[in-house]
């Protein structure tokens, strides 16, 4: 059995020895370098761009501006292409722009012999702008008379959507009975960035009749398509190679500079060009997690039953659409999928173009934002009626068997309540709630929690397709090729385990190719959602069954036995009737290759078109100590409990949860990409942007309720993104318990807390 064992990562040895090659490690000799020139205003038009001095810098090979790139607008998000025009992503971006839509927009690109020349030239380019007043907030961009960021959206609303659940409207629900306790609140989440340690570098060159691009991406096959859309090149003439990746978290689920880099190489005769993006550029000019404001109302009975809620969510898109409205549309689904409103739920969402950094996908795809709002409201409602917030959730949370009325995604397995009960025990909820009641003094403790649910893949919103190829080697080992990508999460290791399970070949003889090459690798849309162990492994399972059947057929021929009586277990062909070991697979493989009678290279390939989706769920419990005069929150104890189906690799699953919790703690307490009134990013570096360090991070406890999901290929469902979701609201709710002060925006920074505590009278002047 290869499932449920803590196999060590198949790539760990390469990574501890330095043998793992990432994009920048694969630079060919005599590579040119490219540098993107970014706008120094957030909104306006480039009126003139003077290149003469820059072109005179020794070592500068070429400088391109918006005049020198094809006039194609293209979409950038890592979504499968839709064959229906109405469902295609918004194509609002060009490789280089004349109209500037955020501070750091791409207006020119320099190709030079080295970085010194490129940097010198960049400083000598003089740009004349016609500057407009930039919109930093959604309110500014939606104000009457605001200038259009994109002419295609005159009112700056990229998209609007909404839904209603229940027989009546929120207003009617309020009028329908007496004695309801109601709340109206605004919860705000901030702009944060992925901060994968590896920067999004790419290298492009022309060879073998193709434009080749090595890039740090989660989505190689999608990058190929978008390079084609952006440049006008035939898609088959583009080859994208994905080596080891140093983290992505959604930023690399977007096509970033690959089209520009391909185009630059073609402008210098196909010579290799390396386009490096600095940490500062990555923070300011790639993608961020959307800041979303939630204007929320809720009504409960005094017995704790949730009667109705209403939400209007406004999402700050920044200058280009990227993943666009899909994010906030997902965020408001969180309200629907997490609780049962007895009478009414109304949700509306707007995605609004502004002039800050571009919002894209980031671990949780809108749910960290939506969950913060839904889970702050849950605690605030419970508090308003004097009810224990855990009891409130147990009473009102989504039940076993829930099916979303619009998407029809279901909880095919359900462990939400069990997860809450487990978290309750692990954190000692009941004892601590009692112990920390009615505290006084400057340092107080509290305990809080939050729940979440999360769909595993993207069906039926988008296509879910995955392919796999297995090739039998001469010694009975196999090579597994998948379009699904290892980006650090451990995909190749669990694919190895699952391929072993599917074939009967032992894990030591399964090799998953970590490098994707779109000329070789079968199609898969890549690493996003929490889909690969679910969707992509359906292809592994299907291909594994095919390969096994072919091996058994050959074994049947070689052994002159009926194939129905044969099985492949632990690298051996066995007789299913007697259990007798008949022959090692290695011998069968060797014979198949070299038989003078019937030579056959045994391979298998299959596509799995997944048309099902299931909810994962779970919760976070946090115990905190708040230093009120300093506004400091110290997390004393924290546990995430996950309902993610069967664990394929328990140790890696735990590690995945740790990382998500850490990201959640940064979201809760310290991370925020700040912009001034002109739309300039104020802290686009890792000194001022406060990523948690080891010193900021408590011990992280990961727990699971393992309930096999009948739709998962091996009982598994989502675990990649969920750990990051419930942490911020759990910490916020713990601070509420400790101090009685509800902080309604992220992050819970010391300055914000001190102001709130002073306002609440906890700090005297």
């Amino acid at each position: 059995m290869a499932i449920g064992i803590s196999l060590v990562r198949v790539d760990a040895r390469d990574k501890v020895t330095g043998e793992a090659k990432y994009t920048a490690d694969l630079e060919p000799r005599s590579c040119l370098v490219a540098k993107v020139v970014h706008s120094t205003i957030a909104f306006g038009e480039v009126k003139a761009i003077h290149l003469d001095e820059a072109l005179a810098v020794p070592g500068v090979v070429k400088i391109l501006t918006y005049f020198d790139v094809p006039d194609y607008q293209f979409p950038t998000p890592g979504h499968p292409w839709s064959v229906e025009k109405a469902h295609q992503d918004v194509a609002d971006r060009r490789m280089l722009n004349r109209r500037v839509r955020f501070y750091g927009d791409d207006i020119a690109a320099i190709v030079a012999e080295d970085n010194v020349a490129a940097d010198r030239a960049a400083r000598l380019i003089r740009v004349e702008y016609e500057a407009y007043e930039p919109y930093v907030t959604v309110e500014q961009a939606m104000a009457p008379g605001a200038r259009a960021v994109h002419d295609e959206r005159p009112n700056n609303v990229l998209a609007h959507s909404g839904f209603q659940v229940g027989e009546m409207s929120y207003r009617e629900a309020l009028a329908s009975e007496d004695g309801l306790v109601t709340l109206e609140k605004t919860y705000r989440t901030q702009t944060v960035q992925h901060c994968h340690l590896e920067l999004p570098t790419s290298i492009a060159w022309q060879a073998d009749g193709k434009i080749n691009v090595i890039t740090s991406t989660q989505i190689p096959h999608i990058v190929r398509r978008v390079i084609g859309q952006a440049t006008g090149l035939p898609w088959g003439s583009i080859r994208v190679i994905k080596p080891y990746i140093g983290g992505g978290f959604g930023n690399k689920q977007d096509v970033l500079y690959e089209p520009l880099n391909a185009w630059l190489s073609l402008q210098v005769g196909g010579r290799p060009v390396k386009l490096e993006v600095s940490r500062e550029e990555t923070l300011a000019s790639t993608r961020v997690r959307h800041a979303i404001d939630f204007h929320v109302s809720g009504a409960v009975r005094k017995d704790g039953s949730l009667v109705a809620r209403r939400c209007l969510a406004n999402s700050n898109q920044g200058g280009y659409a990227s993943h666009g409205h899909a994010i906030v549309a997902n965020a408001i689904n969180c309200f629907k999928q997490l609780y049962r409103d007895e009478k009414a739920l109304e949700c509306q969402a707007n995605t609004v173009y502004t002039n800050i950094a571009v919002g894209g996908a980031m671990r949780g795809y809108g749910i960290p934002q939506g969950d913060f709002a839904a889970e702050c409201l849950a605690d605030d409602l419970a508090r308003a009626i004097g009810m224990d917030p855990l009891e409130f959730r147990l009473k009102n949370c989504m039940q076993e068997g829930y099916e979303d009325p619009h998407t029809h995604i279901k909880f095919y397995s359900y462990g939400l309540r069990a997860a809450m009960e487990k978290g309750r025990t692990l954190i000692r909820w009941d004892a601590l709630r009692e112990q920390y009641r009615d505290q006084t003094g400057p340092v107080r403790r509290g305990v809080g929690m939050a729940i979440f649910c999360y769909k595993t893949g993207v069906h039926p919103i988008s296509l879910e397709t995955a392919s796999c190829r297995m090739v039998l080697h001469q010694d009975g080992s196999i090579q597994v090729q998948m379009g699904a990508t290892e980006i650090g999460q451990g995909a190749d290791t669990v694919f190895t385990q699952m391929a072993s399970e599917a074939t009967g070949i032992s894990v030591g003889k399964v090799h998953v190719s970590t490098v994707q090459d779109t000329d070789v690798t079968p199609f898969d849309t890549g690493a996003y959602a929490s889909r690969q162990t679910y969707v992509s492994v359906m292809a592994v399972k299907k291909t594994g069954a095919l390969l096994k059947q072919k091996i058994l057929e050959y074994a049947g021929y070689a052994l002159r036995l009926p194939v129905e009586n044969l099985d492949l277990r632990d690298d051996q062909i066995v007789d299913t009737l007697t259990g007798e070991i008949l022959r090692p697979v290695a011998d069968v493989a060797l014979e198949a290759f070299y038989s003078l009678d019937r030579s056959q290279h045994i391979t298998a390939e299959a596509t799995s078109h997944c048309k099902i989706n299931t909810f994962a769920s779970g919760c976070c419990f946090a115990e905190v100590e708040v230093d009120i005069p300093l506004g400091k929150v110290k997390v004393l104890n924290i546990v995430n409990v996950h309902d993610s189906g069967s664990l394929i690799n328990p140790k890696l699953a735990e590690a995945q949860v740790h990382g998500g919790m850490s990201m959640g703690l940064g979201y809760a307490l310290s991370e925020e990409l700040l912009f001034d009134g002109k739309g300039r990013p104020l802290n686009p570096n890792l000194l001022d942007y406060k990523l948690p360090t080891a010193l900021d991070t408590p011990d992280l406890q990961a727990a699971f309720v393992e309930i096999p999901d009948p739709t998962g290929p091996y009982g598994n469902k989502a675990l990649g993104e969920p750990p990051a979701i419930p942490v911020a609201p759990a910490v916020r709710n713990a601070v509420l318990h400790a101090t009685g002060v509800a902080i309604d925006s992220l992050p819970l920074s010391p300055q914000k807390l001190v102001e709130a505590f002073a306002q609440a009278g906890l700090i005297e002047d």
Binding site: D11, T17, G18, G247, R279, I487, G488, M663, A694
Partner: protein, 162 residues
């Protein structure tokens, strides 16, 4: 302007011409092919480019190559034993699942080599502080601390046994 630099890298004497403006991370990566030295920020914020210079952890992105004249530099390429066997620290990182995307891994391993080499016990809180110059976005540091703690303890046990 190029200058001839003499340094020991992973136990081997090197003599090479470097640009006087060049940082050690670039020299190691581009002139010696030691690509385990990762560049995550190039301003000393992330710790991915950490190497040991005479046993002390240094951000090689902020260290001019010419300063390495006469010094001894260690990267993870130099950690393996004579027969290619992994060092105990590398093994601990593998077994404790302290590796995810792997980009911060070589740098943290080298800091761990420095810590373990002190031959003294550390509390977990002390270890947190000692590795806090390394940013990791994947692990929450939990398993990294487990691996470093284990290496410190195993090393002391070995010392006591000897």
């Amino acid at each position: 302007m190029l200058k001839i630099l003499h340094m020991t890298v992973n136990g081997k004497a090197e003599e090479l011409a470097v640009d006087v403006r060049e940082c050690l991370a670039d020299t190691l990566r581009e002139r010696l092919g030691l690509t385990s030295v990762k560049k995550g920020c190039e301003v000393g914020e992330c710790g991915a480019c950490t190497v040991l210079i005479d046993g002390k952890a240094v951000n090689s992105c902020c260290y001019l190559s010419v300063w390495a004249e006469g010094h001894s530099v260690l990267t993870v390429e130099g950690l393996k034993g004579p027969n290619g066997e992994l060092s105990p620290i590398q093994t601990a990182f593998i077994e404790e699942a302290a590796v995810q995307c792997g980009f911060c891994t070589p740098g943290i391993i080298l800091t761990a080599v420095e810590i373990v080499g002190q031959n003294r016990p550390y509390t977990r809180e002390e270890l947190r502080k000692l590795i806090s110059g390394h940013l990791c976005r994947c692990t929450g540091y939990e398993n990294i601390l487990n691996a470093v703690e284990r290496c410190v303890a195993e090393n002391l046990a070995r010392q006591n046994a000897d």
